[in-house]
Structure formats: C-alpha cells, structure tokens
Amino acid sequence: MVFNSLEFLIFSLLFFILWPIFKTRDNPRWIFITIASLIFYGSWDWRFLFLIIGSGILDFFCGLAISKLPRSRKFFLLISIAGNIGCLSIFKYSVFFAGILDEISLYGGYPLTLSNNIPEFALILPVGISFYTFQSLSYTIDIYKRKLEPVKNIFHFFSYLVMFPQLVAGPIIRARDLIFQLSKVKIVSQPEKWNAIKQIIIGLFQKVVIADNLSFFVDSAFEGKTAYSGSFFWWVVIIAFAFQIYCDFSGYSLIARGIAKYMGYHFKMNFNHPYLARSFKDFWSRWHISLSTWFRDYIYIPLGGNKRGLFMTLFLITFTMVLSGLWHGANYTFLAWGALHAVFLISEKVINTHFNTFIIWKPLRVFFVFMLVCSAWVFFRAESIPQSGEILYYLYNFSISDIGFIFFYINNLIFLILALLIEIIIYATQKSRMSWHRKNYPDLILIPLAILSIVFLRGEGQQFIYFQF
C-alpha cells in the first residue's frame, strides 16, 4: 500500500490507535512494530515476506556470532554480506548479468542462453530489497567494526529492520541510530506531533501535487506519445523530471520521517534542497543523503577514501559512483548515470586541486551544477543508451521547438513553475528562513493551502519512483 492511498490511511489510523497500548513496554513495542510492518510489507506481495524474514534472521544471528565468536568474526560478516548481496544479485541483477554473459559468450563464439533459463522466482523484484539489504548490512558491518553491540532480542532487531515508514523506499537508517532509539520509550510532545504532521503534509504535497502532476508530461515525452521536440522542449522535460523525481522521493522520505517522528523516532534528513547545490560534492551531500553516506562509509572510506593519493581517490570515486548507479537499477543507463556523476566529481576535484577555489558568482554555480545534474538525469529516466543519446543531442543542438507544448501541457507545467518558485524562495530566504519558520502564522496559511492542494489539485496516482529500486 502506498502512502497516498486509502488503505494506508486506514492502516496507519489502526496502528496509531493501538500504538499507545504497546509502546511503553519493550517486547510488546518491538513485536507490534514488527507485525504491523510485516503486514504493511506483505500487502505488496505476501511472497516477499519469506525473503525479508529469512534475510533478517540470517543477519540477526550473524550479528550475535560476530560479537560472540572473535575468531570467526570475519567469516560471519562474509556470510551476512554474501546473503544480502546474493539476494540482491538474484532478484535484481540476475537478468542483467545473464544478458551481459550471453553477449560476451556470443562474441567469444560459445553462445550461452542464460537469460532464457533464469528461474521464474528470480524474475520478481521484491519491493524495497535494495533498501533493506543495505540497512541490514549496516547492522552486521557496524558490529564487526565494534561500533555497535548486537541486540539480544530478535524482535528488537526486526523492529529496526522492517519498520514500515522506511521499509520500501528508505531513508536507509543506520542500526546505531535507530536501535538505540527503539530501546527507549519516548514521550512525544504536542509540538513534536504537530511538526510530524506538517512533515507528512509537506511530503504528500510534494508527491501528489508536484510529482504526480509532472509525471504525465514527462512520461508523454519519454514514451514518444507527443509530437513535440527540439531543445527548449527537451530542457523543459528534463527539468520537469528533475523535479518529479526529487519531489517524489523527497516527499516519500518526509512522510516516512513524519510518521516515525509521530511514533517518537528520529530519522535523519534525506534531502536538503539538492538543486541549490553549488558543487557536485555539495549536491551529493544533499541528495539521497542516507544512500550517499552509506556508500561513503561502507565502500569509499574502507577502500581508502582520499588517503591513498590522487589517482586512487579518483578511481574510488568512479567505483563508488558506478556502484551507486548499479544500485538504482540493472540497466546500462544507470551505470552511465553513475559514471557521469563520477566524471563531474572528478573534474571538480581536479579543478579545485589545481586552481584552489573556482571563484564564480554563487547563483551561476548553482545554475551550472543544476544543468549538468539534469543532463545526467537523462540517463536515469531513458529506457536505453541510444534514447539517452538522442535526448542529449536535442538538449545541446539548440534546435527550434514548437512552443505550443506549453499551452498543451499547461496544467502540468504550472506545477513545474510552482516547484521552481518554491526552491527559488527557499534559496533567497535561506538566512532569514529560520526566524519566520518558528512563527505559527505561515502555518495558518500554508498548511490549509497544502491540504486543499493535496485534495483538489492532486495528479493521477503514480507509484513512488523509488519503489522500483
């Protein structure tokens, strides 16, 4: 069930009606969160439950073994990694890798037909598998690094792993952040509850008003259902996609944070106005923060980070970004997207290394970074590398567009203008925002407007984009 559905509204109402009964005592609290979350997850497809429960049981016992059996610590860590990455490989990447091997074998003169022999169960992609496997890995890895003690109660562990607000599309919560919170009873104050509700409302606004209204325009363009073309048209399309994916994902994360906050748990921010970034490094500290920090802490830094010389640093940046692209999807387009961001980061690092600071007017830097990020989004959204190439060609060949598309899609583009205006206002009021933000009167206008927009200006229901990961 998606967050913006009647089923979820009923589910969450029931959850919060029963929550006060269970929240004050450890075991009942953990069991209640676990069962409710498994019901939530099972509503997508009950078959997925076996995988997440099996994966969770494996990591729970691996965590205990890593802590209790010092001589076999590495072994059990490898078991956990193999189990999680193995599941991800089978259910997410088997078709992709089989296709690559088939192509290689064909060139080598010994054709294989692995793609046609993949078992049927491996063709179903369990919702949220990329998120919960990373979340589970952070548990066993942190125990191995002695940053965390394993929990003794399996429901305590499962309440961390499967907690429904973040289960299917993040944010990826580190074990050491949430497990400690789950062991305490927190009394949620009225202002905190109100802030939680506001986060949920803003998240829903981003998702159903902005993202869902932009989707029709973006999908029409990428699926070839429109006769319009040209540079201006495609720039508008890709900027619309940039805001669609941002508002879709950020909206989901905000709703998840708001629900968790209402329960008494704090999830860290996952998006921090990424399109206001002044550099690509800054962009990656603002976009999908939970994932980028996961890759930083568990891939980039353990492999050496920036401590092993410039060449190794550049290689590790490339490796990490390509892996990040692969995490998003089993397609060459996602690899290309990751690689392109690696090029941006490396170029920025080299320029900064040799020219110290690149002094440039800040709004221009924001604009420059935004345009290049949008160019990379082409690969993320396109179905294939050839389609990506075709669209990039239109973006940069300055061909003429029939601006009639503005009038044809005016009901969608109004929401792009709204999204841009919101970001511009936030950028312009960054320093003063914190002072009026604390006052209540903006809420009296903005929150009712947001709610009325969610009801009367909502786009046609689209699934959250990141559910496919």
Binding site: M1, G224, D443, L452, F456, L457
Partner: protein
C-alpha cells in the same frame, strides 16, 4: 484545530463556488471497474476498442428493440483475441431472446499490440482493495475529485468552460466524449506510427473469424461494421494496417456474421478518430434501426 477549521471551510467554499471538475475521476474509476468486474449479463453486447466505447450508446441502440438489455464492453485498444472473447462470453445472456453481439472492427483491433489487450488486463488484474474502492467507496468520494489549475482559474474569473477533453461515463458502457476545441486532425500523427512493426496478420484475422463462426453456431446473431471515422484516418489505416476491408467483409459474412455499412452519414469526429457525442447518439440510433430490421426480417444487408 484552527488549521483544521480553516481547511474545512476553505474546502467547502471551493466546492460551493465551483461546478464539478472536468475530469470525473471517481466516476471514471467506477465505470472501468464495473465494466471489467461486474457479473451482470446482457443479451446484446457491443464490443471493440475506443471507437466503440466512445461511439455507441448501448441504451440508445435498444431504445426501440423490446426484450433486450445491452452493454457496451469496449476498452481502449481492444484486440479481438480469445481472452477478450472469453470475457464477452461470460457477459452474454444466452438464455433469453436471440443473443446479439455487435462487433466494431477497426484495423488496429486486429494488430499484435492490440491483441495484448493491455487496458482490459490492467483492469481485470485489479486487486480486491482497488475493486472495492472503485465500486463501493468512490461514489461517496466524488466531492473530492481533483481539478486542473487552469480549470479553477477559468471558473473563478468567468463561467467559461475551459478547453479540454470532456468525458461523461454512462452506466451502459458508453463514454460520451467531445473536446473543446475540436481538431479533426489531432489523432492522425499517432496513427501514422501505430502500425510500425504492428500490422494485421492473417492468422489473427482467422482467429477472429473462427470465433464469429462459433458464435453463429451457438445461435448468436453477430453484426459487424467498421466504426465510422474521418476519411483521412481511413486512408491511413487502409494503407498501413495490412487489413483489406473488402476481403474481410466477405470472410466475415462467410463465417456467419452480418456486415453493416454506414456510408456517407456525415458523422463528426472531435479528434479525427472518435465520434463527437452528437454523432455517437445518431449512430447508435442507426445501429438500433438496422438491428431491429434484421431481427424482424433476417435478410443480408
């Protein structure tokens, strides 16, 4: 509490001042779920793709044909294949008077892409919660149907209805449709591409005709026709689809169907493909008259 009150008052004010939205989302969801999932049977069924569900009112067809109940079972991009035929069989009341099936055959409805019946299967595969919501809850949620921004703007500053696609969902399976403004060429560009790697195959025609024959042998009267559309559209379809309509007509009748022609009736299309609702009403009456004639005097057309 204050914010809640402001929201409720704001919402009530909006609904009080505004007419219903252009797109009746809850009615649309009910319409499609009911069409795909209802078990109700009828002894006259009208089947085909969007030119059928937008072009024929089942209720008007049977206005002067006593003893018949009718439903339009058209879906978007319907293909005439066994899956669709099974669905039609399940909805046909074969116990009563001579059952009738009226097939609106477009070239597209015999193409491989149409034969996937994506729209029908999307609806048929709805989970129980989606069906329940559409069929039982949506009717109470109509006041929450969303608006388009320009719609609100136009209605606030004047009574003028905005440009757009108007669709009225009827219980008989007909979608009364028109656009403001009309553009009798707007559908043509997409039809120039729709037959790319997607032309009609002989074996698929054979499957369709075989079913016509089976129905005929079960005592069902089968009527077929090419849904009226613009000359430009017909020209595109004839040249690109690989379907020879004169040959198809002959085969249709050989397999027991009755072919109906509607030449030069001057029908009006709002997009170059689908009938404007005024023409759809006229066309439905014509079909009704033809069917009535055939039932009363069963000679060929």
């Amino acid at each position: 509490m204050t914010i809640g009150l402001i929201t409720i008052v704001g919402g009530l004010f909006l609904k009080w001042t505004m007419p219903p939205p252009l797109k009746n989302l809850s009615a649309e969801n009910f319409f499609w779920s009911e069409k795909a999932h209802s078990k109700e049977k009828f002894n006259l069924l009208i089947i085909g793709d969007s030119r059928i569900y937008r072009g024929i009112s089942a209720k008007i067809v049977i206005e002067n044909i006593p003893g018949y109940s009718a439903k339009n079972l058209g879906f978007s991009s319907t293909g005439f294949n066994p899956d669709y035929f099974n669905f039609v069989d399940d909805r046909l009341d074969q116990e009563s008077l001579i059952p009738i099936i009226i097939m609106g055959i477009t070239p597209h409805s015999l193409t491989p892409n149409a034969l996937k019946n994506s729209h029908y299967f999307e609806l048929a595969n709805y989970k129980w919660n989606k069906k329940a919501k559409d069929l039982y809850i949506n009717k109470y949620m109509r006041f929450l149907d969303p608006y388009k921004p320009i719609e609100i703007f136009n209605l606030l500053i004047s009574d003028k209805r905005e440009d757009g696609y108007y669709q009225d969902y009827n219980n008989d399976g007909w979608v009364k449709s028109f656009t403001i403004p009309e553009n009798a060429d707007s559908a043509l560009p997409s039809y120039l591409r729709v037959f790319d790697n997607n032309t009609v195959k002989r074996e698929d025609i054979a499957i369709c005709l075989k079913k016509v024959n089976e129905w005929k042998e079960e005592g069902i009267q089968i009527f077929g026709f090419r849904p009226p559309t613009t000359k430009a559209m017909e020209s595109i379809e004839d040249s690109l689809s690989n379907l020879n309509f004169p040959d198809f007509k002959l085969e249709f009748e050989k397999h027991g169907g009755i072919w109906m022609e509607f030449p030069d009736e001057n029908f009006r299309s709002y997009d170059g493909s689908h009938l404007h609702y005024e023409s759809a009403i006229r066309f439905s009456k014509l079909i009704g008259e033809r069917i009535k004639q055939k039932i009363n005097s069963p000679k060929k057309d």
